[in-house]
Subunit: 323 residues, 2 copies
């Protein structure tokens, strides 16, 4: 299938687009991500084309409450990774925004240090209003970025409950970012972030209270029951604004990746991730089938009956599935 | 099917439990909601039993950013509704909490004024970790509360993006709560709350800036394109702590309910809601089928192939659905 691309709406084949993305053409990468976002009819072909090219990238999730300095940390992290010669893609997921493509978040502003770097690709993605939501689009976008040859795919999200759990499900390694003066102890316990981090980093470590936060998190982590031989989750200190501690953070990322490889956890995590992706794609495929004429009429009729109390939702669901 | 109930684990039939709930026994209502939360095998029977008893309650959603005073407003709103002789159920949905049943939120503390009132039922519900999440459990819990004879079911949620859109999908009438000094103008534009509210209320209206917020929201609402004859969305002022403005808010709720009835929008909204519920129940039913032995092996095999790049997620999904 050919897809349109560029300002002049030229047509290009999917294999062509994938080749260009692998050759480092940012516009081709962007176009592929847009095909994911739009749930393009060409998407099955895109995913089939990229599948054999995936598996190289280290997928790193970064999450934390608003105000802990996620954008600054992402910026500094990209800088450190670039110094080590790695190609980096950043996927900023904002579950509260109906906008995507980076229009509102202002990718270029947030990541001013790297806007001109051809080996850094930055993209915002909104989960709202999307077909299938974050759980459908994000894993496919990550596959595209992986296939495009990026060494690290950094997935950044605002920590608002469900999204941070989802991000942990997407990543090989999840960094939970904290900062002093934000009641993080309670925050951590409440949002369940103790369950999702592989690395913890206390940003703004030059401020009062950083050591307290670090100690609290360490205490809470030490109380959690963990199987023998489990990854020992470090709690690092950072000053992202000045770059302090970034080298140690990247070293810790490397160590975790090595641990994932040697423990067999990488395959387990990626299989679990693929499972959720397959489920989400299957669900969405069903949903779009139900939206087609004929099936849509049936669903509408069942829904009206449920709305009017003539039928219950479980019986209606069974009838829908029996079709 | 009989289900266990009470501290002594007595068995009771589903029809019995529903009768008791309708007779005003709070423990029976609570037990039914728990059956929803636990995705009990008895749930199909519960939903079939409650279906013909639904349709009476006015389902009201209340959302807003943290700090605008949702709990205080809920408390005051319940007070006003009780003064009018109405039975009220409150479902507090916290999408960031893995806890449910009100253990953490401390329902009794939050709603101290109404804890002893037999005509007020209060329940927290967490969406995380739940089978099917909020979109699966909440509509079914609302049906239970509707069937139990509550006149108003108040669904309160923290405004964090996806959840507020979901809440708008659940309710007949959605109240968006704002407050001065929170950058609500930007907040509103960002989170898309302009699309979801039927009523807007500026809480803490005795503070500086309340009129500014009200004017901003009014301006933004007036700029939105609306079809002719559409509901004119009011922007009210409240001081929930003192009760000021609560009567006007309840009057506005009544007006919106009357408008829903006369315009035919009530049936449309409820059918759309039932449609999402039927879809969610169908999806969850499939998902649990895939978790069964045999199908689970197939899904696992497909997922491993996707994780290793031997297969793409779209082809895997098609194979799964072909079974």
């Amino acid at each position: 299938m050919n897809v349109q691309t560029g300002g002049r709406r030229r047509e290009v084949s999917v294999p062509d687009l994938v080749s260009r993305a692998r050759a480092g053409q940012q516009a081709a990468v962007a176009r592929l991500i847009s095909l994911v976002e739009q749930a393009s009819p060409a998407l099955s072909e895109v995913m089939a084309a990229v599948a054999p090219l995936t598996g190289h990238a280290h997928v790193v999730g970064l999450t934390g409450s608003p105000g802990v300095g996620k954008s600054t940390t992402t910026n500094a992290l990209v800088g450190e990774l670039r110094q080590r010669g790695l190609r980096v893609a950043v996927l900023a997921v904002d579950p509260s925004s109906p906008f995507s493509g980076g229009a509102l978040l202002g990718d270029r502003v947030r990541m001013a240090d790297h806007a001109q770097d051809p080996d850094v690709f930055i993209r915002s993605m909104a989960s709202r209003g999307h077909l299938g939501g974050l759980s459908w689009a994000a894993p496919q976008a990550i596959r595209v970025l992986d296939a495009a040859g990026f060494d690290v795919v950094l997935v950044e999200t605002v920590g608002v409950g469900q999204s941070e759990v989802e991000i942990a499900g997407l990543a090989d390694t999840t960094i939970v970012l904290l900062a002093p003066g934000m009641g993080d102890g309670i925050q951590a316990a409440k949002a369940g972030i103790l369950e999702i981090g592989d690395l913890y980093a206390v940003n703004k470590a030059d401020r009062d209270g950083a050591d307290v936060v670090r100690r609290e998190i360490r205490t809470m982590l030490s109380m959690a029951a963990r199987p023998e031989g489990a990854w020992k989750r470090p709690v690092l200190k950072l000053v992202a604004r000045s770059g302090d501690g970034m080298a140690a953070l990247v070293d810790a990322l490397d160590q975790h990746r090595a641990w994932l490889d040697s423990s067999g956890d990488l395959v387990r995590r990626r299989t679990a991730r693929a499972r959720r992706e397959v489920e989400a794609v299957a669900m969405e495929s069903l949903r779009s089938r139900w939206a087609r004429v004929g099936e849509a009429d049936m669903l509408e009729e069942l829904s009206l009956a449920v709305a009017q109390g003539r039928l219950d939702s479980h019986t209606a669901a069974q009838r829908l599935l029996a079709e």
